[in-house]
């Protein structure tokens, strides 16, 4: 019987004890992977790609919890995806530390506000945040929008508020960001591709 490492995990996770695995005729080499199996057996695997560099290594994220609606998942381990044609299971030191990015103590958790001249952040609600951002943008846009240039031709541009998009965000985020921001007439609009 030939099994890949991943199938092996599945079989073991399916509730076979170590002795019954041995009885299926696994060679001792394969059975040794079992120690690791136990650690990952209870995990849920999710496919992802490394968000750092443009090699975009395939990842397997292991989380606790079974995706049940009332259970919170927490990712506790990330490894390279051995099926991925580019990285074939490997990760560089950055990718190997990804779980620390997810759980970094510097992750932002709530919308925050810093008033002019203030020395501190104040927690605010999402509704307050959206309302304030929209207010500031609208006031600036209404005041400075250029419908026609000096020559009297229609140019419909707004260049007194600038935007930067993120080249580590997904294509779907990028697409909707472009669509929404350009509809405001924005031209001062770039992403990391420029640098």
């Amino acid at each position: 019987m030939k099994v890949t490492r991943r199938q092996f995990f599945k079989i073991s996770a399916g509730g076979l004890g170590s002795s019954s695995i041995a009885m299926l005729g696994f060679s001792p080499g394969e059975a040794q992977a079992e120690v690791r199996t136990f650690k990952l057996a209870r995990s849920t695997e999710t496919r992802n790609t490394c968000p750092y560099c443009s090699v975009s290594c395939g990842l397997i994220m292991h989380s606790l919890g079974d995706r049940a609606k009332n259970a919170e998942s927490a990712i506790f381990h990330i490894e390279g995806d051995p099926d991925h044609p580019v990285n074939r299971g490997t990760l560089c030191p950055k990718g190997a530390g990804l779980v620390d990015f997810i759980h970094s103590e510097n992750r932002l958790k709530y919308p925050e506000y810093r008033a002019p001249g203030s020395r501190e952040w104040k927690r605010i609600s999402w509704d307050e945040a959206f309302t304030r951002v929209a207010r500031l943008m609208k006031d600036d846009r209404d005041k400075n929008f250029i419908a026609k240039n000096a020559a009297g031709v229609t140019v419909n541009r707004w260049v007194t508020t600038g935007f930067l998009a993120a080249s580590a965000s997904s294509n779907e985020s990028g697409y909707i960001t472009h669509k929404a921001i350009r509809s405001l007439g924005a031209l001062a609009f770039d992403n990391q591709a420029r640098v």
Binding site: T49, C50, Y52, C53, S54, V55, S56, M61, S63, V86, T90, L91, P93, K94, G97, D100, S104, N106, L108, K109, P111, E112, R114, W126, T131, V133, L136, M137, D140, F145, A147, A151, V153, T160, T161, G162, F163, L164, A165, A166, S170, N171, E172, G174, Y175, I176, T177, H178, K179, A180, R182, S183, G185, A186, A188, F189, N191, Q192, A193, V195
Partner: protein
């Protein structure tokens, strides 16, 4: 990349130059190792530092930072003077045979048409001579004194091995050794790949460095073949995607371009971009521009976009100039920008001349930061002692910081540098109240709409009519968005050959961009991504890694744009008769009735070789351009210009024109450039294996591996300056200083340039005043505020510094 990561294994010669893949793209570099081990490939590394890429190279040649055009121009001269070009390829597939306008000149460092006060060119003479038949004139014998090949020979004849060595500091024998190895790939059965990254883009002549290498590849016949190509390794995981989606000042999705303010007539706008062939029988694929453009406008404005209103053309903003990031910070610095919104971007650390950036941001009325992490930018107003010495009380900027999810907490796709769109899945909930970027943009946008509905205001039409038919309007799903950019049929689509046959029913997902129409019956938010989510489902999520040809083109793994094609220009891998130049690397071929093969042909599938259509179908000529016409800011042939801060204070080729004459320099920044006398050392910035920009200093593992800021200098310079390994040193430029630990290394050697000794100072840039690593100085304190003349990418790789022991 024209090719992709796995394809590197097919190369015979690999040149790593303008990049350091072993350290910056470690898991992609394994394909170099694979090529060396299983394809007997030779690895050449050309870099100012003996990097880890160099440590596994077959041959390493040092070079002074910023002089790659001189080096590669020397390679072109070598190939031409030693007759090491692939003749048939050059003749058939490049514009070597084309005759150039009589008015074209190059003299003393300047091309014809220079406007000195404007620092720009009138490019009208950088054009082809047009024949009586209305097409570009060619000379098949390539003897005409004004044919591109002859002009090319003439232009690079100045780039002798001696001149190269004098400018670059590369020993002559090392340079010649590199030339000889590169030249072996002019044989049709040998391929060379160039692997480069920010080491080429971040110069005031960055685009032309890349062009010079691309010209080398055309001369060698290495474009379009397995194991060949121009391979931009790129930076961020989705830098390719965001570029493809056009999130840049002057672009629209899929490399469509925004109109300028003198282009307010819709028909003139599309006509200019609907490139007609300039040689008989050529495809000139941009002839389809109206289809791509109309389909985009249908995606954005739905039923509101009609032929009668020119598909809402008036609603697109018209450019008076390009608002690239340097231009925007220049405006901000002068108090002409009121607001700034940064999504997953840390400009205080990422753009040049930090003092200027900090002053500029302090003038903003409001700043909005959307990020998973507490970045320096969001905290630019906080005092962090010597690392951010500002007084919050004097900074009147209102700052709003919005927490976003990270990769692990959302579904979606990223496009890697090999153009593969790969889908990923959410594995956990975000911390606290963090939201996906999509929901944050939706939240702001819907609130704006609400306000405009209530209060009215400036030109609300475009934003009020933008299509927003998402199931949950404040949280559009990534799946809906992917289906939208792929595009769909807005009416039943019939087979062009048989109008009675319905190919797609109204509402169905398109199979690809070949189905796009310019009559409003199709929509697609990004034409080159069409094919990513068809009626068959999410093609980006495919996971079959089988590779039947053995060349690494896993066509059923994810989706590659365009049209799932893995190697661009692959028609050029065959000779004009349609037979592969090298049967061992067959990507496509003509089977007598159609183009077929293990890759998706980059060609009109039913055009027989006898029709004479050429492989570079995106170009109006059908061939690769050795002569760039008017496409580049500083000239149709790349010329060596010194960095704006040069340690030799001259240009040995033409002392009167030292640096890029077409680069934009703002007043005040010119004065902030340093001179070699005060700042004798060539500074250059770079990344380490253990860190990603200013991001991983927030993660424990990376911060444990590389906890503290350091600067690398060579042993000779250290000795001269009385610096020992581990000493703290101060590094300063004309714009500011940083302090860091000195790493004294054999990996950086002094070079002899134009009769003087030049030392490099290596400055890894990962530290700042936020994060779990030890605080450090933002390295952009040192760098100059000037960019490439075409892209405005800042010159981070070549500037001047001085150093001393603290």
């Amino acid at each position: 990349m024209t090719n992709h990561w796995v394809d590197i294994k097919n190369a015979n010669v690999i040149v790593v130059m303008g990049g350091n893949a072993a350290e910056a793209h470690p898991c992609g570099f394994k394909w170099v190792t694979e090529a060396k081990a299983h394809n007997h490939a030779t690895l050449l590394v050309v870099d100012p530092r003996f990097t880890r890429s160099a440590s596994v190279a077959d041959y390493y040649a040092p070079i002074r930072t910023g002089t790659d055009i001189a080096f590669l121009g020397g390679v072109i001269n070598y190939l031409l003077s030693h007759d090491k070009i692939q003749h048939e390829y050059v003749k058939a597939y490049t514009n070597a045979t084309f005759i150039v306008n009589e008015g074209y000149k190059f003299d003393e460092g300047l091309f014809s048409g220079y406007d000195e006060p404007g620092r720009k060119y009138d490019k009208s003479t950088w054009s082809y001579e047009i024949g009586a038949d209305g097409f570009a004139a060619v000379d098949e014998t390539m003897q005409h004194p004004r044919c591109v090949l002859q002009l090319l020979k003439q232009h690079y004849s100045r780039y002798t091995p001696e001149a190269v060595s004098n400018i670059c500091g590369t020993p002559k024998d090392a340079f010649l050794k590199v030339c000889e190895t590169i030249a072996t790939t002019s044989a049709p059965n040998r391929a060379l790949t160039f692997m480069y990254a920010l080491g080429w883009t971040q110069h005031s002549v960055g685009s032309q460095m890349i062009r010079t290498a691309a010209m080398v590849q055309l001369l060698l016949g290495n474009m379009g073949v397995a194991g060949g190509g121009m391979n931009a390794l790129r930076g961020h995981s989705n830098i390719q995607g965001l570029t493809d989606l056009g999130l840049l000042s002057d672009l629209l999705p899929g490399y469509l371009t925004l109109p300028r303010e003198n282009e307010t007539d819709y028909q003139a706008y599309v006509d200019k971009r609907t490139q007609k062939p300039v040689r008989p029988g050529q495809m000139s694929y941009w002839q389809n521009y109206p289809k791509f453009h109309v389909s985009l406008m249908k995606s954005w404005y739905g039923d509101t976009a009609t032929r009668d209103n020119n598909w809402c053309f008036d609603w697109l903003p018209k450019l008076d100039k390009v608002y690239d990031v340097l231009q925007v910070f220049e405006l901000m610095f002068h108090g002409k920008l009121n607001g700034y919104v940064c999504q997953g971007f840390n400009p205080l650390a990422a753009f040049p001349n930090r003092a200027k950036l900090s002053k500029a941001m302090s003038q903003l009325k409001y700043l909005v930061v959307i990020d998973p992490l507490a970045t320096e930018t969001s905290c630019f107003w906080e005092n962090h002692g010597e690392f951010n010495d500002v007084d919050p009380a004097t900074i009147q900027t209102e700052v709003i910081r919005l927490p976003s999810t990270c990769f692990a907490e959302e579904n979606g796709s990223l496009t890697n540098s090999g153009r593969w769109l790969q889908w990923h899945y959410k594995g956990a909930e975000p911390p606290g109240e963090a939201k996906p970027d999509v929901d944050i943009i939706a939240g702001i946008f819907l609130k704006l709409r609400e306000l405009y509905k209530k209060e009215g205001g400036a030109f609300p039409d475009a934003l009020m009519n933008l299509t927003w038919n998402y199931r949950i309007p404040h949280a559009p799903s990534p799946e809906e968005l992917a289906m939208e950019y792929n595009g769909k049929a807005l009416a039943d689509l019939t087979d062009p050959k048989d109008p009675t046959k319905v190919v797609l029913k109204k509402g169905q997902q398109l199979d690809g961009f070949a189905q796009l129409k310019d009559d409003g019956t199709t929509s697609s938010g990004c034409w080159i991504y069409s094919g990513a989510w068809t009626e068959k489902g999410n093609m980006m999520a495919r996971r079959d890694n089988s590779d039947p040809s053995g060349l690494g083109n896993t066509l059923n793994w994810a989706f590659a744009w365009p049209a799932n094609r893995r190697v661009l220009y692959n028609r050029a891998s065959c000779d004009p008769s349609g037979k592969p130049w090298d049967p061992k690397r067959t990507l496509v071929y003509w089977d007598g009735a159609k183009w077929t093969g293990p890759d998706v042909p980059d060609f009109k599938a039913d055009s027989p070789p006898s029709e004479g259509m050429n492989p570079f179908i995106m170009q109006a000529e059908g061939v690769g351009r050795l002569f760039a016409l008017d496409k580049m800011a500083e000239g149709p042939f790349p010329e060596h210009y010194e960095p704006f801060e040069t340690p030799i204070d001259t240009n040995p080729l033409h002392p009167k024109v030292i640096s890029n004459p077409a680069a934009r320099v703002f007043k005040g920044d010119l004065e902030a450039f340093g001179k070699g006398k005060e700042y004798p050392y060539a500074g250059t910035t770079y990344r380490l294996t253990e860190h990603f920009h200013f991001w991983t200093k927030h993660t424990k593992l990376s911060s444990i591996m590389q906890p503290e800021q350091f600067v690398e200098i060579g042993e000779e310079l250290a000795k001269e300056k009385g610096i020992k390994a581990g000493d703290r040193i101060k590094v300063w430029s004309h714009r500011g200083f940083i302090k860091a630990v000195a790493v004294v290394t054999k990996r950086i050697r002094p070079l002899t340039v134009n009769g003087q000794t030049v030392h490099h100072v290596g400055i890894p840039f990962h530290w700042g005043f936020k994060g779990v690593a030890k605080s450090g100085y933002l390295a952009n304190t040192l760098t100059p505020f000037v960019g490439d003349a075409n892209t405005q990418t800042p010159e981070f790789k070549s500037f001047l510094v001085n150093i001393e022991k603290v």
